[in-house]
Amino acid sequence: MKHNTWIKIASLLMVVALLSSACAAPAAPAAAPAGESAATEAEAAAPAAEDGKKILRVAYGAEIDTLNALTSQNLTDIEITMVDGLIMSDNNNSYVPVLAKEIPTTENGGIVVQDDGTIEMTWNLHEGVKWHDGEEFTSADVCFTLDFIQSEAGQAVYNQTDYMGIIDCQMPDPYTVVFVWDKVFAAYATLFDTILPEHVLAGQDVLTYDAYNRSPLGTGPFKFVEWKPGEYIRVEKNTDYWRGDEYPMIDEIVFSFIPDPNTRVNALKAGEYDLGQILPNQVKEVQDLEGYKVDLVPANSWIIFEFNVATERGQKLFSDPNVRKAIFHAIDREAIVEGLMEGTVQIANSAISPTSPYHNPDVPVYAYDPAQAAQMLDEAGWTPGADGIREKDGERLSFTIINRNSRPERTAIAQAIQAMLKDVGVEVKFEDLENAAWLQRWLSTDWEAIIGGWIIPADPSLTALYACEGSNNFTGFCNPELDAAMIASDEVFDFADRKPLMDEVQLLMAEEGRELPLYYNVLPYVMREDLQGFKGSGTNLGSFWNVYEWSLGE
């Protein structure tokens, strides 16, 4: 008997090869004749030119979870191309009306305080706006959206609590909505950035209704075409867009998911995409890329070095403001900005970005001055011990920064701060944590110091972050004077009343020396030179806010 091993091995390899080609088959339907492959290749080289269609290819970061903008935990750039809200925030940190004719204010009569203290807020809606399926958009859709957000399922909406002050939603006619508020909520213009279609979602479990969450129906400039999981989402021009026939000016947008930031840069450099967001320290690599331009969009986001006084040890080390301020003076922010961030960002001295009308430039600045830092620490009673690290009452001036491994640039900053503080006799240690573990630790308030950061809406309210009872104040700091100013600013509607209060908030925070603002973040976008109309916005609603007026080519 001849045992033919050779044939067996060969047949195994054949099986593997067959399986392999079987898996490729689903992506290549209807087996294209061999002669056609040359033609498809030519198309691949210049897809934007295919039948004169203007296609915008976007190298997008992580794949998103759901296309329901209200329940998504990702930024909503993609949804914004398809779904409109009553408002949108622009590149000047201001809110602009979208489906509403204007944003109600006390001045234009849209906001009226009733005798019983409730507030009536009237939104006039555009007429003749059509959903992508041809149904008309009306005030019923707005009240339906509110009903969903206020329902139990609406807990999935991250800012649900902000909507809870609305006690009634009235529809005097199809183009008018009246919200009745139980009290003043200054940030009302941040709400309703998305409106759901009642005729599609009524009676459905919105959270799991795939027909909407995987292919949303909106009133926006683009219509959903296709979502290939892990690959891309494709949207095409809405030919019946309510702003008029001239919009949108691009025929199709493809968002390709490229999670790795280095790959994203390589893909842009290879000319495969027309637009993509990169990291601040990658800007140099693409600065001189032929046919492309770089736009550094100032983000509504600031990076801070902050302490925690919620723990006993934190109290001992950091409750004296002079110790905190001394440490701030020992940190060379210029070196961090120039050296680590390659000069792409701007040093921050307050929480509110200069792009916001609420920014206050007149606050104390913690300039780099190690001599002064040492002197202040001496005066505060912290004197160098045997190992050069300062001590007071048997306690060493030594603390641990928890680093988040998904933010390598922040770890680099922590390392720089470690070296700078060593020069003034302060010891810094590190604990590196995986992303979710870091978040949990941070929420638990059981930590000593972090390099943190926030991104805020165009509205400047900071109450949730810094008030004594603020839902996201995990630092243990509590300043009643600051609370008073912040809460007062949340309870007035008009810019003229609110601006001085927010100025005071920024001043008080800097004087208290609770945290050291390091820099205002930037969002660098690389785009084809002939992409016109891009006006990057650094708010939580992102840079696609005016995508309807973008154009490609001449």
Binding site: W6, K228, E231, P259, D260, E272, E434, W438, R441, I455
Partner: protein, 317 residues
């Protein structure tokens, strides 16, 4: 052999239950829960909303209750819903599976086609230039960080030369086979490198062991041509251990695909795994890891059976 396979298959059932318990516990023991994704984009969310989120997902229940709920559903084929996308886990896995299998098998074939001849050649021409080259390549393959090698290939072939696409599985709007193959080349090369390194070494060693054995000497003594002795008589037996190692490595390839898929934006299971890991998407993680363990256990069995099938000296009882 049939009875052996059936016995081994039945033994897998308690094994899978044991695996699922351990994985379930380990996943939930990792610090940080799915509610932390609510904070991922730097938004501020109140602790009350975070707590309500856990309740909505049933995570406030004791862990054994959660496990038996999962197991009960899983036995009926329901792997639950992803926390992040609210889609059925099984649907999500099946959507991504073809891309992963395509990449894995391409890398597998590529590795086999290069590693096996290289190993044989290195053994026959011991200490030749190509043998040293093979040794060097192996060290390089084992030592080179995958993510770095991937980025370098992108820079050379996509950015500098423009021959191949940098990432992705297809050019949007192009369903041609040529386009697909172009997209496959770089990730498959990166993924196969480690296996080229390993298999060529095994092949070389195994071949060297065989060519000094008696039956090879007998074949030579019969006056057979050297080429025939090497490529028919020696290779046949030398290949047996290598083939079973290759079967075991199928499961290993799956874990290698995690990094490769992320770097090349390949829409497979590996990337889904990374995403679900960061999001602490427990049901999705369970689904993917269970699938991975099934792969390991099944290919262990395949390796054992193949070994006996190829080598009649092995008996199964």
């Amino acid at each position: 052999m049939g009875r052996y396979a059936i016995r081994r298959t039945i033994q897998m059932i308690p094994l899978f239950i044991g695996i699922s318990i351990i994985i379930f516990l380990i996943i939930q023991a990792a610090p940080g829960g799915p509610e932390t994704t609510l904070l991922a984009t730097g938004r501020f969310v109140s602790p009350e909303i975070l707590a309500a989120y856990r309740v909505r997902l049933g995570l406030d229940q004791p862990i054994f209750v959660q496990y038996f709920r999962w197991l009960g559903a899983a036995l009926t084929g329901d792997l639950g819903y992803s926390y992040t996308s609210a889609q059925p886990v099984l649907t999500m896995i099946l959507e991504r599976l073809p891309a992963t299998i395509q990449l894995m098998l391409s890398a597998y074939l590529l590795a086999a086609v290069i590693a096996l001849p290289l190993g044989v050649y290195s053994a026959i021409h011991k200490y030749s230039i190509l043998d040293y080259f093979g040794t060097g390549l192996s060290f390089l393959g084992i030592a080179m960080p995958v993510f770095w090698f991937g980025l370098i290939l992108q820079l050379v072939f996509a950015v500098q030369l423009g021959w191949l696409p940098s990432s992705g599985r297809e050019t949007v709007g192009d369903t041609g086979l040529v386009d697909q193959i172009k997209h496959l080349i770089l990730p498959a090369t990166v993924l196969s490198l480690l296996y080229i390194a390993g298999w060529s070494r095994y092949m070389r060693t195994s071949f060297l062991g065989v060519i000094n054995s008696d039956y090879v000497r007998t074949a030579r003594a019969k006056g057979l041509r050297e080429r025939r002795v090497m490529l028919v008589h020696a290779l046949k037996n030398a290949a047996i251990p290598v083939v079973s190692i290759m079967a075991l490595d199928v499961a290993g390839l799956f874990s290698g695909a995690v990094i490769t898929e992320t770097i090349f934006a390949w829409p497979g299971i590996g990337r889904l795994f990374i995403q679900s890991m960061y999001a602490r998407d427990y049901p999705l993680l369970m689904g993917i890891i269970m699938m991975g363990s099934i792969l390991v256990v099944v290919f262990n069995l395949v390796a054992d059976i193949l070994y006996g099938w190829l080598d009649p000296r092995i008996s199964f009882d």
